[in-house]
């Protein structure tokens, strides 16, 4: 079955995202706009994944749980898990690697952990937008060995991408690459590129989804089963990116 998916979305936990963009609003707008499979991928943290899980359950939407990790070279990579716990555990591995930069919430934006009813649980006092003290290769290997889907983010962007920071896509344990527009083949490493909304504001949600062919029942399966179905589909290239028309 063909599923409209979007694996790159932020919530109010990301300092650069809209405060309005709670996990529950993300889930609700994703369903209203026709997505069947949605991932939450905040910068360097998965702390809003439990709220996202509860919100998706309420909406009847299949979730994946991720982190957009920022390597020491400032390359962003999506690391996606089947369960909120998987993402939270990976977040615990990253936490000691996060560079301690001065954080001014006024200038950089609030980082809000919420529950599924938008009640504030915590305001983080350390900056999530910082780089991790781990190189891109090692970070991708760590994510893969933790069971994640590994997808270098927006490979064609002039910032925070393999093309802007490294100049090329090194070999690695990738399941796909994400691109904003039809990418150069050299940036894809022989993989099919997915599109992704990189939604920081409600109006961004579902702006660049991709369609993916998944086995019947995969969405209902959820968790690790869904993640592995998606991994197989991505690696087989059974998808249509937003620039290909859906």
């Amino acid at each position: 079955m063909k599923v409209l998916a979007d694996l790159h979305n932020h919530s109010c936990l990301s300092p650069c995202a809209s405060l309005e963009q709670s996990p529950s609003l993300l889930a609700r707008l994703a369903r209203e706009r026709g997505l069947g499979l949605v991932a939450l991928t905040d910068h360097n943290s998965a702390l809003n994944c439990p709220a996202f899980e509860a919100s998706c359950r309420r909406e009847g939407l299949a979730p994946l749980f991720g982190i957009e990790a920022n390597s020491v070279e400032e390359v962003h990579v999506l690391c996606l898990f089947g369960t909120a716990k998987g993402a939270l555990d990976f977040g615990l591995l990253l936490r000691p690697l996060l560079m301690p930069l001065p954080y001014d919430a006024e200038k950089l934006g609030d980082q809000v952990v919420v529950d599924e009813d938008e009640l504030v649980i915590e305001l983080l006092d350390y900056y999530l937008g910082a780089a991790l003290t781990m190189g891109f290769d090692e970070l991708c290997a760590l994510a893969a060995s933790s069971g994640a889907l590994v997808i270098p983010a927006h490979v064609d962007r002039p910032m925070f991408s393999v093309s802007s920071q490294l100049g090329f896509l090194p070999p690695g344990p990738y399941d796909a690459v994400e691109s904003m527009r039809r990418p150069e083949p050299a940036l894809c490493g022989g993989l099919k590129a997915i599109s992704g909304s990189d939604a920081h504001y409600p109006e961004h949600i579902c702006r660049r989804p991709f369609a993916v062919e998944l086995p019947e029942g995969a969405l209902e399966l959820g968790g690790e089963g869904l993640l592995e179905c998606l991994r197989a589909a991505l690696r087989a290239g059974s998808l249509t990116a937003s620039w290909e028309g859906q």
Binding site: N70, E73, E74, L101, P102, K107, P158, M159, F160
Partner: protein, 113 residues
């Protein structure tokens, strides 16, 4: 040395990418292409010498309190970067020279006896 004097004194092709900026006294320079590194180590009232030509570089400059950004190697300057620089009052210049050359000129200008 004010940032306008710095730009004029280098004797190189220094394109003033946007005319609206606060002409501040500059106190230091910092050369880096990693924005985390700039955030952690650059000093207020400094000039950033970099190849990072995008609006996040302006955001970091504004955050640190930098007076200006010199974009090297004639990298194209996107319109949203210049818009952000105008709003923040950050000077943005562009030059065909490398970061090594610009930093050398800046250091020499600041250490003139």
């Amino acid at each position: 040395m004010r940032i306008s004097e710095f730009a004029a004194s280098l004797g190189i092709d220094m394109e003033t990418a946007q005319g609206v900026y606060e002409d501040r006294e500059i106190s230091s320079g910092y050369s880096s292409d990693l924005l985390s590194d700039v955030m952690g180590n650059a000093k207020a009232d400094g000039v950033l010498v970099t190849v990072q030509a995008h609006k996040n570089a302006v955001a970091v400059a504004s955050l640190v309190g930098l007076a200006g950004i010199v974009v090297c190697n004639s990298r194209p300057l996107p319109a949203d970067m210049l818009d952000a620089a105008r709003v923040e009052g950050v000077a943005v210049f562009r030059t065909p020279e490398t970061a090594f050359e610009v930093a050398g000129r800046l250091w020499a200008a600041m250490h003139k006896p």
